[in-house]
């Protein structure tokens, strides 16, 4: 009964438009007061403070800042040029270049919005000029931009690692194969579209010298994930230290090597990064307050028993999780959706013996779809704005792309080896 009251109160307040942090706290404090549960509120607010304090969370603003620096500093266009020399000759070549650029830039930024904005502002005008319908260009960017969320520096991975307690080293390797397979599926759709529509049958193949020159130009940006991820994987530095190195590296290449931004732009980007991260971290802290109440009142145990009564096997449970997250994702962005559901799903996943790292990849891959599921979504809006295309027209072009990503989501869900392969290879 308490579980139902908690969820109803929270969803009514949150859906009414009250910021999530206040919705979570109002629900927690309101239920304690109204039901006279007798918990001291000092404990609730101490858990809010301790929820935002851990050293690992410092990586969140730092990675956001590094992503912003690279997006503003000219890394995007060099990556696009490198991808063009490699894949521009294929049917639907420019669309294929877009997917590869998003994958590579995603490896640098870890942010779907930064990925879509940085790559979209470069390739969408080129695609439209080439004859692609603006709505297709926007649909492709809104989907390809989310590949960043499965790449090693993904912000949702970092948040999941914190909530679940799994190793960021393992998690950062687990999304790579799903991201590459998703990119391959999208490339398949792009080649089919390029051929079918006749708008892009491919340009001439680049010479090895052109490829080498483009690689040299993009090399500084492309080396960054190797340094950062290599450092984390080898245990040389922690994710937080890796984030600080990413910031310094991003500053050096944006200010001194590419020279596409000045010192005056640094502080506004820093402020924006810390503002954005504060909104995320305060929701993390407030979720901690509600989780505390859920734990002491045994709500999670009751919910777990109820779901175990319905889902008799692991695969039914994972299907239920995917459906619930997909529905939730149609109106909530990935990070808050993860923050709200992970504390509830994690004990259940453990009860069904799901590998916690694998579960993190499933949640992230599913919630990434939320970013472009019409009618609302972060990457959908960014890409629609750049392409100046309507959501209705974009939705029609999204159908084959979403079919591909949903198929990959099912494969990722039921083939756990995909998420374990690289970590087993490297960590043993």
């Amino acid at each position: 009964m308490l579980a139902l009251t908690l969820f109803l109160v929270f969803f009514v307040i949150a859906l009414a438009g009250v910021p999530l942090m206040y919705s979570l706290l109002a629900t927690t404090v309101g239920i304690i007061w109204v039901q006279d549960l007798g918990h001291p509120l000092e404990t609730i607010f101490l858990s809010l403070i301790s929820g935002v304090e851990p050293f690992i969370l410092i990586a969140v603003p730092l990675f956001i800042f590094a992503g912003e620096l690279l997006a503003r500093g000219g890394a995007g266009k060099r990556i696009v040029e490198f991808a063009r020399t490699l894949f521009g000759f294929l049917p639907g070549g420019l669309a294929v270049v877009t997917v590869v650029s998003c994958l590579l830039f995603g490896g640098v930024s870890g942010s779907a919005i930064a990925d879509t904005a940085a790559i979209g502002s470069l390739v969408i005008p080129m695609m439209i000029q080439r004859g692609y319908p603006p709505a297709f260009a926007a649909a492709l960017l809104s989907v390809a931009g989310t590949l960043a969320l499965l790449m090693p520096l993904s912000i949702p991975f970092l948040v999941y690692a914190f909530i679940s307690g799994v190793s960021m080293r393992q998690l950062s390797m687990s999304g790579v194969i799903p991201a590459v397979i998703s990119a391959a599926a999208l490339i398949g759709v792009c080649m089919w579209f390029g051929k079918k529509s006749g708008c892009d049958t491919g340009s001439r193949a680049s010479t090895p010298r052109e490829i080498w020159n483009a690689f040299k130009s993009a090399g500084h940006a492309l080396v960054m994930p190797i340094i950062i991820v290599g450092g984390i994987w080898s245990g040389i530095f922690t994710p937080t230290e890796a984030a600080a190195i990413a910031v310094i590296y991003g500053l050096i290449i944006s200010l001194f090597i590419y020279r596409e931004m000045g010192w005056r732009e640094v502080l506004p980007l820093l402020l924006k990064a810390f503002q954005t991260s504060a909104t995320v971290l305060l929701v993390i802290g407030a979720t901690g307050c509600l989780s505390w109440l859920i734990t002491v009142e045994q709500v999670a145990v009751q919910l777990s028993e109820w779901i175990q009564g319905i889902a008799h096997s692991q695969w039914v449970f994972l299907l239920m999780v995917n459906i619930a997250l997909f529905l939730l994702g149609t109106f909530i962005e990935p990070l808050p959706a993860m923050l709200l559901t992970a504390p509830l799903f994690l004990p259940l996943a453990a009860a069904f013996k799901v590998d916690m790292v694998h579960f993190g990849v499933i949640m992230t891959a599913n919630l990434a779809i939320a970013l472009y599921t019409p009618p609302v979504g972060g990457t959908l809006f960014v890409a629609a704005k750049i392409a100046d295309a309507g959501i209705g027209a974009i939705t029609r072009h999204l159908i084959p792309l979403m079919a591909a990503t949903l198929a990959i989501l099912l494969i990722v869900t039921y083939c756990p080896w995909m998420t374990r392969a690289i970590s087993q290879m490297i960590l043993g």
Partner: protein
């Protein structure tokens, strides 16, 4: 030319508070980047600067609550707006006002219990820095207090019939 982007327009006291919050957030952020990087350098040379971890956690609490206030000034907190955005005219005005009233109620509780927590922790000290824990916990009432002022001012603008674009800029 100012180093930081200005917040939305408002009367002088609100603007000054907004500038103070933004400057503090950016300053703490800069120190944190520098300290974490310094720590990496120290590791490379086999040195350990133990106090940096605790100091960064100390600042993390401050930068989060101040960053939250800075986001409140710009209406940038994570919100599900799909339903409220469907409302127009008077319904939208009263919808926005009701949301800010709920936010203000939560912020009052945060300031109140923040003060209670600070009061109770002057005697407890941080392990390495040896500073009173109350100094770290002070971020809760101060950040929430600044947020309260920004949200209250926003409520006044809503009641005067200002649209979200007029309140937060385009």
């Amino acid at each position: 030319m100012p180093l930081l982007p200005p917040g939305p327009p408002g009367p002088a006291p609100i603007r000054w508070l907004s500038i103070a919050v933004d400057c503090a957030t950016a300053a703490i952020g800069t120190v944190m980047v520098a300290l974490v990087f310094l720590n990496v350098m120290a590791h490379i040379f086999n040195q350990d600067i133990a106090w940096t971890t605790e100091f960064c956690e100390f600042m993390m609490v401050w930068v989060t609550f101040l960053g939250g206030a800075s986001a409140a000034r710009r209406g940038a907190h994570m919100t599900i707006t799909e339903f409220i955005d469907k409302l127009t005219g008077t319904a939208r005005k009263w919808g926005d006002a009701a949301i800010q009233v709920v936010a203000l109620a939560v912020l009052v509780i945060m300031v109140w219990y923040g003060c209670v927590i600070v009061e109770a922790n002057w005697g407890n000290v941080l392990t390495v820095l040896n500073w009173p824990m109350a100094l770290q916990y002070l971020a809760l009432p101060i950040g929430s207090g600044a947020s309260f002022i920004f949200v209250a001012y926003d409520l006044v603008l809503i009641l005067r019939g200002k649209s979200p674009e007029e309140r937060y800029g385009a």
